[in-house]
């Protein structure tokens, strides 16, 4: 593996993280009250989150059309696309549980990490609980699901060495 790939990947990922975190903060999504004000459609509704999501999806949708035609990303030998899955109970049930958790306190995984950076005390409760919940799910429900791949992103499928075609 060349030095460019070896160090370029983590550096690029760090830059993406910075932009992502700054975006969450600029959009005030790091304020859980703002998130709940969006979800609280019967109360003082705040539509901001809709525009955050709309802008992000819009940019991604347009860029995705161009990027997906390429053979590979700049710093890896292939794209790690999610496997084509089906609509099943894991997807719907998991999304319902996630939504309830999100709606109770106003934190999703991204904002929990971001608010930890901002020194919000609530993140000290929420973020470890999110990690624990994730670990519990992966330990308790680790059996093969209908996708035959354990429902995991493509880089976790143990075929041909798994790790995205990268040399072991």
């Amino acid at each position: 593996m060349s030095a460019l790939l070896r160090w370029g990947r983590p550096l690029a990922a760090g830059l993406c993280g910075v932009l992502f975190g700054a975006g969450l903060s600029v959009a005030q999504m790091t304020n859980p009250r703002k998130v709940l004000d969006f979800l609280d459609v019967t109360g003082r509704w705040d539509a901001s989150l809709l525009f955050v999501l709309g802008a992000a999806v819009g940019v991604y949708a347009i860029a995705h059309l161009c990027i997906r035609r390429r053979a590979a990303p700049l710093l890896d030998v292939r794209f790690h696309w999610p496997l084509p899955g089906i609509i099943d109970a894991r997807l719907v049930g998991g999304s319902m549980l996630f939504g309830v958790g999100w709606g109770i306190a106003g934190y999703c995984p991204g904002t929990a990490v971001a608010t930890l950076g901002q020194g919000r005390a609530e993140a000290l409760w929420v973020l470890p609980a999110i990690v624990l919940g994730t670990v519990l799910q992966r330990v308790l429900l680790a059996g093969p699901d209908v996708r035959g791949t354990n429902g995991l992103p493509s880089d976790r499928v143990p075929v041909g060495g798994g790790r995205g075609g990268r040399a072991p």
């Binding site: 990947r9 983590p10 990922a13 760090g14 993406c16 993280g17 932009l19 992502f20 975006g23 969450l24 903060s25 600029v26 005030q28 790091t30 304020n31 709940l36 979800l39 019967t42 509704w45 705040d46 539509a47 901001s48 802008a55 992000a56 999806v57 940019v59 949708a61 860029a63 995705h64 700049l74 710093l75 790690h80 998991g94 999304s95 319902m96 549980l97 939504g99 309830v100 958790g101 709606g103 109770i104 306190a105 934190y107 999703c108 995984p109 990490v113 950076g117 901002q118 609530e122 409760w125 929420v126 470890p128 999110i130 919940g133 994730t134 670990v135 519990l136 799910q137 992103p153 976790r156």
Partner: protein, 148 residues
């Protein structure tokens, strides 16, 4: 009855564009989906080798938010609430982590990247968690009376 309260159009748009740009760059450079629940979960549960990019993304996420909050001063952390019950924070976190892992995505993975790829699964996931979250918020705010 829906009544508009406050509405920060420009910050929402600029913030959303930044989130979109970050997700696009992660795809164009590393070929990865910017799904925070997946990146966070994999960072903690997968074999440590080849994980550096995930930890760097999370570290960047943390510092990017911290950096903007520091530059913007009080605005970014305005309305910091106090007294929200810690047991509810823990319950919310457990459900969030468990559910996002089961559904293979959260607001970023399904909500931004999945919708951007026009994935039917992600559309259903997003509509489902939005609806579930609205019900949960209603319960916490208007039934249980936990404010704000």
């Amino acid at each position: 009855m829906i009544t508009m309260q406050s509405f920060s159009f420009a910050p929402a748009l600029v913030g959303g564009l930044l989130i979109g740009l970050a997700s696009v760059l992660l795809l164009a450079l590393l070929g990865r989906i910017a799904g925070v629940s997946g990146i966070l979960g994999d960072a903690f549960t997968r074999h440590p080798s080849g994980q550096l990019w995930r930890w760097m993304f999370l570290l960047g996420l943390l510092t990017g938010a911290a950096g903007h909050a520091a530059v913007a001063g009080t605005d970014a952390t305005a309305g910091a609430r106090t007294g929200f019950p810690a047991p509810l924070l823990v319950l919310a976190g457990l459900l969030t982590g468990f559910g996002a892992s089961l559904a293979n995505g959260c607001t970023s993975g399904h909500g931004v990247c999945g919708l951007g790829r026009l994935s039917a699964r992600s559309l259903l996931a997003t509509l489902t968690f939005l609806l579930a979250a609205m019900v949960a918020t209603y319960g916490v705010r208007h039934v249980a009376g936990v404010a704000p």
